[in-house]
Amino acid sequence: MFGFGTEYEGLAFWLPLVWAGLIAVAVAMYVIVDGFDLGVGILFKSAHNENWRDRMMFSVAPIWDGNETWLILGGGGLFAVFHIAYAVLMPALYVPIIMMLIALIFRGVAFEFRFKAERSKFLWDNAFFFGSLVATFSQGVVLGAFVQGFANDGRQFTGGTWDFLTPFSMLTGISLIFGYGLLGATWCVMKTTGELEIWARRMAIRFLVGTILAMALVSAWVPFLERQIEARWFSWPNIAFLAPIPLITAYTAYRLFRDLEEGRHYRPFFLAIGLFLLGYLGLGVSLFPYNVPPNLTVWHTANTVNSQLFALIGFGIAMPMTFAYTAYAYYVFRGKVAEEIQGGGYGYH
């Protein structure tokens, strides 16, 4: 495809492409669904009072666990079908991944412990906020390091522990905080009412501005990290196909801003997701077909055909059901969270 992977034939050519698509979808799912609940955590500290924090947490409590499962699918999926990518990437990203895992532990237990606590409640407020913040930053750093690429010998990572640490990966780390914050704020707009909703709109606009600046900076930087990427975007005829991506992105951002001003409830959240997907698409265009930039392709890092096929059968049978009952779980907890968390009630309207 596009002149890549021509030395592979039949299933050995197609399966890695199919799997690359499926894992890209899984990662996108993760970024969207855990993105908004991490975003809720990022906003948590600036919420004005206890009641707001309770309601924000309630809005994600029944679903966060399922959201985080996509992260396991991302990691597990790499191990399952691109085991060489997994073997190279994980040691290369040792520090940010361990940081992320530790942060997710604090954040995850905060859900359980916060409402058990009274005197120690502040601990879990902080655990939820800092956990969300550090996990998001770490994921942004992972993204930046990924775009930069990794030293490898085709089987294992050959670089150093701190290779990931560059100004670019710090920028992507901070960018993702804005991005997830935007998702979280628009989620709160959708799921809450009254003063809290109005506040969430204000926060959404601030994080939107931050996100746009971050996207612009990263977009300006990426094409010049590596000649390949630059050539891909700015050569003819690619530029004709790719030019709409930044244009649509700009329009989406404008629409999102207007929607927040006009008091819409649902659409801002979905536009924020759209913004994420556009950024993700841009990244995909820049990196395909490498899943270990700069040199290892999806074909090189893939498992044997037999192994990929077996995993695909499981995916094909199980994942439609997964989508169905995950959608059902979201449906059960639809609507806005009640303003008064009374009687120990979950208090959806």
């Binding site: 399922g66 532990i105 089987r155 077996f310 009630g345």
Partner: protein, 478 residues
């Protein structure tokens, strides 16, 4: 012992997986226990069962959350610290782990939300369905991860190509020789862990109240303890049989591990059953041995003159560390027989009618609360240390499996995990103790229909803060 990236990664993996396994070991059993309680509630309409469900689901939620977050660490650690292992086994084990995610993790996670928060929204039947799906998810999860672990112990259905394992026959891979026994042994171990935890915690709640406390206050703890002890009485003997069958498999497929378990240096017929010894790896012998002649051979081969392999059959660098395997196994077995004793004692006290009032028995049962966790951990120490120096038995040495990471990075991550886990575990235990101190709601306080109006928020009920008095409502800030 050199503290290089390899040794540190081994310590980190052992620490994080031992910490992790505590929670699934508990929640696999608790999920089924909750399904049983809810089934009884729907069947009989006795609010006692509903109150018990509402109580134990809080315990479940705390444990499950800790299991999830410590489990995510495991799914990444294969890569971060064991990338050469990932490269070697990825073609075979990758899909098994993926199946665990596809079939188990999503199922658990999606229905967990409904089980914890959705009773009011979905009604009794769907809620019961959700509870059953969570229970099914825990069992499926155990299926795949134990299949993967078993393949590492008794690899089958593979070929070696370019220095990597590649799949040939998926059925043989999944149902590799040690898997059926390991799965049965572990699931039963989890159920018994839960049974003894539930019985022990209930015994503690009973001990806190005088005999003549109102019946309504005691009924929940009594019913929990009674159900758990019936389960234990019936299934501990079965577990001992499963364990024995599992042991026969070890003899066949991992003779060196078996030799370490038995502390057996020389291949011999008429092997004694060593109850105690201090194995000496340097001198290749045991000190202070206390043994019963011939019984070892009889247990393993079901014949007094059965031949049992010895450690000296393989060179020193093919042997696991002997004493940890030898003692871990004995501790596990000792706990198993203590469980058997509690089961038999409980039957005797039931017959005498003093099961709930015999304070010696209640104290003993309370002391047994962590027994299942101990048995599970020491069982796994036996299994995992016993297959050293291999990570994939006979195919890949642990020393060849480690990632190209620096010792400094692993030192930092290990230290962080230790501190964070201690902190989180400490608070988890503290909140769990608070939950137990309160106990299940007394039956008489429950109106027949209040469940629909008072949905349960097992771990997040603001007006049931555990540090305050029951019913104390925290004031909102501002």
């Amino acid at each position: 012992m050199e503290f290089d990236a390899l040794m540190l990664s081994r310590i980190q993996f052992a620490f994080t997986v031992a910490f992790h396994i505590i929670f699934p070991a508990f929640t696999i059993g608790l999920a089924s226990w909750l399904a049983a309680l809810e089934f009884n509630w729907l069947r009989t309409g006795n609010p006692l069962y509903r109150n018990l469900f509402r109580f134990w689901v809080k315990v479940f939620a705390v444990s499950f959350g800790l299991g999830v977050v410590s489990g995510i660490v495991m799914s990444y650690q294969f890569g971060t610290n064991w990338s050469r292992y990932s490269e070697f086994t990825g073609n075979v084990l990758g899909p098994l782990i993926a199946y665990e995610v596809f079939t188990a993790f999503f199922l658990e996670a999606a229905f967990l939300g409904i089980m914890l928060f959705g009773w009011e929204r979905v009604g009794d039947r769907l809620h019961f369905f959700a509870t059953c799906m969570v229970a099914l998810g825990t069992l499926l999860s155990a299926f795949w991860i134990l299949s993967a672990n078993s393949w590492m112990q008794t690899p089958a259905g593979y070929a070696i190509e370019n220095g990597k394992a590649v799949p040939v026959d998926w059925f043989s891979i999944i149902f590799n020789p040690s898997f059926p026994y390991r799965y049965a042994h572990m699931v039963m171990g989890c159920y018994l862990t839960t049974a003894f935890a539930v019985a022990g915690m209930s015994a503690w709640m009973l001990l806190r109240h005088p005999h003549d406390a109102p019946e309504a206050k005691l009924a929940g703890s009594r019913r929990s303890m009674s159900m758990a002890l019936w389960f234990a009485t019936i299934f501990v003997p079965i577990q001992i049989v499963i364990g024995d069958l599992h042991g026969l498999g070890v003899l066949e497929y991992q003779p060196t591990k078996l030799a370490a378990i038995e502390g057996n240096w020389e291949t011999q017929a008429n092997m004694p059953l060593r109850l105690f010894a201090i194995p000496d790896e340097e001198a290749e012998t045991n000190h202070y041995e206390i043994a019963i002649p011939k019984i070892g051979s009889w247990i393993l081969t079901h014949a007094y003159d059965g031949v049992v392999p010895g450690l000296k059959d393989v060179p020193r660098d093919e042997r696991p560390p002997v004493w940890p395997v030898f003692f871990s196994f004995r501790i596990m077995v000792a706990i198993g027989f203590a469980m058997l004793g509690i089961g038999l004692w409980s039957v005797y006290l039931r017959w005498k009618g003093t099961l709930f009032t015999n304070r010696t028995f209640l104290t003993a049962t309370m002391i047994m609360t962590p027994s299942g966790f101990g048995a599970v951990l020491f069982g796994w120490f036996t299994a995992e240390i016993g297959r050293q120096p291999y990570v994939v038995y006979g195919l890949l040495r642990t020393a060849d499996a480690v990632s190209p990471v620096s010792a400094g990075a692993v030192t930092a991550s290990l230290a962080t995990f230790v501190v964070v886990y201690a902190f989180v575990f400490g608070f988890g235990s503290y909140y769990l103790a608070k939950l137990l101190r309160r106990g299940p709601d007394p039956v008489e306080d429950i109106r027949g229909d209040d469940l629909g109006k008072k949905p349960k928020r097992p771990f997040s009920v603001p007006d049931e803060g555990l540090e305050g008095r029951p019913g104390h409502k925290p004031q909102p800030a501002e």
